[in-house]
């Protein structure tokens, strides 16, 4: 495998892995919101 191919593969795949993990961890660590949708639904006016 050539050096240029290896550099591109590692940098692209590495970036994707880091960003995927970052966003997923952020989702898992963010506490759930407490407000309910039921009371706040806005009826559609036709």
């Amino acid at each position: 495998m050539s050096t240029s191919a290896l550099i591109l593969m590692v940098s692209v795949q590495g970036t994707v892995i880091v960003l995927t993990a970052y966003f997923l961890i952020k989702v898992l660590r963010t506490p759930p919101k407490t407000d309910s949708n039921a009371e706040e639904d806005e009826p559609d006016l036709l």
């Binding site: 495998m1 050539s2 240029s4 191919a5 290896l6 591109l8 593969m9 692209v12 795949q13 994707v16 892995i17 960003l19 995927t20 966003f23 997923l24 952020k26 989702v27 898992l28 963010t30 759930p32 919101k33 407000d35 309910s36 949708n37 706040e40 639904d41 806005e42 009826p43 559609d44 036709l46």
Partner: protein, 559 residues
């Protein structure tokens, strides 16, 4: 409008379902083939530019449109669009968001059934000891629906097991859909997505570590040559509009934007819940499956055993079924079985999480507007899919399958995406839209994207739409130069066969429906178009009925 109490059970369930919607067979089969055909490593540059300037904005826009419609009681694109603009036309543009899914699911479920059958075949070691040609022939026998002429009669030979597998797969989908979002789709996503990623990691490790296999008489049988071919930058291809179009097209397919599924899933999100971070999490999960796993399985393993030249000539969708089982055989019976189950299992999981998403827009529509229960909605959907799918199965060799794929899986996506970006950024207004995206957001959306959504993404999509309409010859840079020269010197245009204009008017084809008393391929092509058009008109009529019903309800409430 009936009050539907559907909803997601958990945030992670929603993200996995949304990622499952995006992750499909194309992540493992379409992306690496597109990369190989469009300059290897350099393809990734236009791919990422398209992802950042078109994919991410569209994903945020679709999530926010869905939530905006959902909190007003609308869970299908005709009425989600209607909640953003009261002009009647938008309701009917929104029909694309149901039509596209019904069209795609009709042939997609058939492919899904192949993956289910092949998982079982792998468990029972049906490919053990078979040569490459025998593995390929196994598929032809399995799905080999063919027609023959006896006298002046057309006889259809339909393989029993392929149809049984299709009906079983359809039944599984319908059963899960009838269980609702949290009780069906979300539960499946929570099991299928982790398993898919696990199976993908296992196969990707095999692909990356395989190296030279020492196949007799094959100097290029080395998986690292496959990876090199896939990732070696070829910057010349960056000046080719064909590569940019292919990259933008891949972003459409991989993120499932322009379909209406994201809107429908997001329509069940609560008013102040985050969508900005959820969209990023699901979107990047899809990119992980595509770029990290998808790029490390088919091409490297195939090059490892078949050689680079063979892959360059034969890289395509059917490798999944006609080649991969033979490649797994090279690893001995136990590993071949495990790899076969992992490969076809992950394709099945990728398929079913996408087909469930495609079933949701119709379900949301009839539940909202006609008050149907889940079971009735799912059964009617199943019946529609069955009616639309049978021609793609029985007349596969006449191009019915390809016709469905072209109109619903390609053209409709671009039309719908063009319409939604205009609606969101220009009619609803990007200022209001920006507030929607940021309401309840758990991340700060870069302000730069407001400008992108108003100017860059619409232009990007309009250019794609325009070039798809008038594409000349193969769409290479030289073809465009030649076409423009021909336009000014001869006043004509060399249409590509797959340009929308050439397809609509049959420009490069001879229109003959019957030859020697028997239907031609053109007949089946036009009949499939008629069937798809009838489906679109039928759905539009249902939207018309739903509007009348809403008006009556509104009047009776006022009086």
């Amino acid at each position: 409008m009936a009050q539907v109490k559907e909803g997601w059970g958990s945030r992670i369930g929603l993200i996995l379902a949304m990622a499952g919607n995006a992750v499909g067979l194309g992540n493992f089969l379409r992306f690496p083939v597109q990369a190989v055909q469009n300059g290897g490593g350099a393809f990734i540059i236009p791919y990422f530019v398209s992802f950042l300037l078109m994919g991410i904005p569209l994903v945020w826009i679709e999530w926010s449109m869905g939530r905006y419609g959902g909190i007003r009681g609308n869970h299908s694109t005709p009425f989600i669009f209607n909640s953003m603009s009261k002009k009647r036309i938008w309701k009917y543009v929104g029909v694309f968001g149901i039509f596209t899914n019904i069209g795609i699911i009709s042939y997609y479920t058939y492919i899904e059934s192949w993956t289910l059958s092949y998982t079982l075949k792998s468990i029972f070691q049906s490919f053990a000891g078979l040569s490459s040609d025998q593995v390929s022939a196994t598929f032809d026998t399995y799905a080999g629906i063919h027609t023959q002429v006896a006298g002046n009669q057309l006889i259809i030979n339909a393989p029993f097991w392929a149809i049984v597998a299709f009906v079983v797969t359809l039944a599984i989908n319908i059963y899960i859909l009838s269980k609702g979002l949290s009780g069906g789709t979300e539960k499946v996503a929570k099991i299928a997505m982790p398993l898919l990623i696990l199976f993908g990691i296992f196969l990707a490790i095999r692909g990356i570590t395989l190296g030279a296999t020492g196949m007799a008489g094959c100097a290029t049988c080395n998986s690292h040559l496959g990876l090199d071919f896939l990732w070696k930058p070829n910057f010349d291809s960056l000046a080719n509009p064909k590569v940019w179009l292919a990259a933008a097209g891949q972003i459409f397919f991989t993120l499932s934007v322009g379909m209406g599924t994201i809107h429908c899933y997001a329509a069940y999100v609560s008013k102040n819940d985050d969508i900005a971070l959820n969209a990023m999490s699901a979107g990047w999960m899809n990119e992980f499956v595509e770029i990290v796993l998808g790029a490390s399985v088919v091409i490297p393993i195939a090059v490892g055993y078949m050689g680079l030249d063979w892959v360059k000539e034969n890289a395509g969708f059917m490798m999944a079924f006609k080649t991969m089982p033979y490649l797994f055989n090279q690893w001995g019976p136990i590993l071949a079985t495990l790899s076969g189950v992992a490969w076809f299992g992950l394709l099945f999981f990728a398929g079913i999480t996408s087909s469930l998403a495609m079933g949701t827009p119709f379900m949301g529509f009839v539940e909202d507007e006609f008050g149907w229960g889940r079971v009735k909605s799912a059964l009617v959907l199943g019946l529609i899919i069955l009616v639309l799918a049978l021609p793609t199965i029985l007349f596969f060799q006449y191009g019915v399958f390809d016709e469905y794929d072209y109109w619903t899986g390609t053209v409709s996506l671009v039309i719908f995406a063009t319409a939604e970006i205009i609606l969101f950024s220009w009619i609803f207004g990007v200022d209001k839209g920006w507030k929607e995206i940021n309401r309840g957001a758990d991340i700060k959306v870069p302000h730069f994207y407001k400008f992108v959504m108003k100017w860059i993404t619409p232009v990007f999509i309009l250019v794609i739409f325009f070039t798809a309409m008038v594409k000349p010859l193969q769409g290479e840079m030289g073809d465009w130069q030649l076409a423009i020269h021909q336009l000014f010197t001869k006043g004509s245009w060399p249409w590509a066969n797959d340009s929308i204009i050439a397809q609509v008017f049959h420009l490069n084809e001879k229109v003959t429906w019957f030859k020697d008393g028997l239907p031609t391929g053109m007949f089946f092509k036009d009949m499939s178009r008629l069937l798809l058009l009838s489906t679109f008109l039928g759905l539009s009529y249902m939207v018309h009925l739903a509007t009348k019903k809403r008006k009556l309800t509104s009047k009776s409430l006022q009086s």
